[in-house]
């Protein structure tokens, strides 16, 4: 259904190229021939403790411009915690985050979001009292600037801004094929659609880094196929960098360019899917049997 031409959400394609230029130095070419850029986000020696529990122990890895990066590992390994660190919800006990070539100081989550990091959640975190459309519109809040007075009067700036952003949101909605539930309150939606709406909300923010926490949990194959298609398209067409956590090995192996494997807070593997799959530590800790 996507013919490729109408895919730029708000016509800001150049952004992707600009960033790419800045970090041209390194990068690699994937199997299917996509050019991966320089380092977008780098985590250095991250440690996270909760009281006595060490959830993450001295982990370093990077996420490169334009790639699909997967994090896998058994339950409780600290994967979600890692995403929480990236999106600023947890502050690491030790270690540094480097984003777009600069060290990121400790920040509030909303500030991180404004730097272009968007995410979905393991346990769906939609705004249940709002319609799908409103939920997706909240993804645009970081881009909307009209003041309170203008909003109260509505006519003028606030309305123009509303319409402009609505157009962008509608594109995302079309893209994810959820037009027909636009006005439905999300509370009534089945699980799979909720996940899709969550993705829409994250996409509406036009992020440069998209974090997906188990986007396909609780879906059947058919729906996983749909979701994969969306993820690939987002990556392809908008050049969004994606970091995802997923337990379905088929999905991970097929979609991702590089995989980090975690176990009990430690990193036990990092590399292209093929390589990871052969890693004995990974097989022992996670896969059980070689897939």
């Amino acid at each position: 259904m996507m013919d490729g031409s109408g895919l730029s959400i708000s016509g800001k394609d150049e952004r992707r190229d600009a960033v790419k230029d800045a970090s041209k130095e390194v990068g690699y070419v994937t199997e299917d021939g996509r050019q991966i850029g320089g380092v977008l986000m780098e985590l250095r020696n991250i440690t996270l403790k909760f009281g006595g529990v060490v959830a993450i122990k001295d982990i370093s890895f990077d996420i490169r411009e334009g790639e699909i990066r997967a994090i896998i590992g058994p339950n409780g390994a600290g994967k979600s915690s890692m995403l929480n660190i990236i999106s600023g919800f947890y502050t690491p006990s030790e270690g540094e985050l480097w984003y777009k070539g600069a060290k990121r100081p400790p920040m509030k989550p909303y500030e991180v979001a404004r730097l272009g990091v968007a995410r979905t959640f393991q346990n769906i975190a939609l705004f249940e009292g709002m319609t799908v459309l409103d939920n997706v519109m909240t993804g645009r809040l970081t881009h909307m600037k009209a003041g309170i007075a203008s909003q109260a009067i509505w006519w003028g700036r606030a309305r123009d801004e509303e319409i402009a952003n609505r157009e962008i949101v509608e594109k995302v909605i079309d893209f994810l094929e959820i037009q027909n539930i636009r006005k439905t309150p999300v509370g009534r939606l089945p699980y799979g659609l909720k996940k899709r709406v969550e993705l829409a909300r994250a996409l509406a923010a036009e992020p440069s880094l998209l974090l997906l926490d188990e986007p396909m949990a609780g879906m059947n194959v058919e729906e996983k196929e749909d979701m994969s298609r969306f993820i690939l398209d987002v990556n392809d067409e908008f050049g969004t960098t994606i970091c995802l956590i997923e337990h379905d090995m088929g999905v991970v192996m097929d979609l991702s360019d590089r995989v980090v494997v975690m176990d009990y807070g430690k990193k036990i593997g990092d590399g292209p899917p093929e390589e990871v799959r052969q890693n004995q530590d990974v097989i022992d800790a996670y896969l059980g049997v070689a897939h």
Partner: protein, 317 residues
């Protein structure tokens, strides 16, 4: 000015230590009574996340029923038993009529419903018992009414025996409740229910039974509170306003904590009295007791958003 705030009050405390003791004792006694009401709240909150606004009116209702029954010529202890029966019926009806249809609704809706119950009971109670102030049947229940007069440092300290009784009874009640919640199967179920209705249902915990049980225990606590307060100030609907005092106690101690209710109650009772006597009356025109407890609790919450003993608020995504 600074002298009035920082030095004079303490000098006064030193100058009349017997008076200070009296202030603290009065604070302690009101604190215990606040704590008793708070206990009722805590119990219901733990088991259902219902913020039971009706606890205050239940106190009045229980006390009025007791006095009313006695006035009909029924012996005191039988009246107590009958009052308990009434409180049980009340618990059953509240569960049947109000709570059951509202299972699974947002907290605020249930909170509203308890305000509805409060209004209903006020109207109903006034029809049955009338609005006059009544005398609690303190002596008939065998509660000593004399006072103990001590003379520390040559001063004067008056302790009423009925207040001493209230303190002792409240202490016993707390210990019993703590054991019940912490150590028994029912106790665990009550706590589970508070976390997740649906899940509790799914493992076979019967909402009906537990809610009736919990509201009944809250009714018992209400009766004890009613007797204790009634002995001090008589029984009438005006008593209902003291229920508000339990709210800052809850905030300070934590909504789920029995220990918190007691310690919060004592702290608030004593501190508000100290503040009123040594700062409020001389410097601010008095009556600071209306808000002091709330402001104190608010300040504590800024540092511990779940109160001193409340359960940690779990924030995860």
């Amino acid at each position: 000015m600074l002298n009035d705030i920082f030095i004079q009050p303490f000098a006064d405390m030193f100058a009349a230590p017997d008076f200070l003791l009296q202030v603290l004792w009065e604070g302690l006694v009101s604190g215990i009574l606040y704590a008793l009401i708070a206990l009722g709240f805590v119990l219901i909150f733990r088991s259902s996340r219902i913020f039971n606004f009706a606890q205050g009116i239940m106190v009045v209702f229980a006390a009025l029923t007791l006095v009313g029954l006695h006035a009909m010529g029924i012996p005191a202890w039988i009246s107590v038993a009958l009052t308990l029966a009434v409180m049980f019926v009340l618990a059953v009806s509240i569960e049947r009529v109000v709570l059951r249809p509202l299972v699974g609704q947002p907290d605020i809706i249930l909170f509203m419903a308890t305000i509805g119950i409060t209004l209903f009971l006020i109207g109903f109670g006034e029809i049955i018992f009338g609005g006059e102030n009544k005398v609690m049947i303190t002596e008939e229940l065998g509660i000593p009414t004399d006072s103990v007069v001590l003379e520390p440092w040559g001063g004067l300290l008056i302790l009423e025996q009925k207040d001493i009784t209230a303190v002792v009874v409240a202490g016993l009640l707390v210990v019993a409740l703590l054991l019940f919640l912490g150590k028994t199967r029912m106790g665990r179920a009550i706590r589970a229910l508070g976390d997740d209705h649906q899940a509790a249902l799914s493992v076979g915990i019967s909402l009906q039974t537990i809610w009736v049980l919990v509201w009944f225990i809250a009714g018992i606590i209400a009766l004890v509170t009613g007797i204790a307060w009634g002995a001090r100030a008589g029984v009438s609907f005006a008593l209902e306003v003291i229920a508000y005092k339990a709210l800052p106690v809850l905030m300070l101690g934590g909504l789920e904590s029995i220990t918190g209710a007691i310690i919060g109650g004592l702290m608030i009772g004593m501190l508000e009295k100290l503040f009123e006597i040594y700062w409020g009356q001389p410097l601010m025109g008095g009556n600071t007791e209306t808000w002091f407890a709330f402001v104190l609790a608010l300040i504590v919450l800024l540092f511990r958003p779940q109160g001193l003993f409340g359960e940690r608020i779990i924030e995860r995504v």
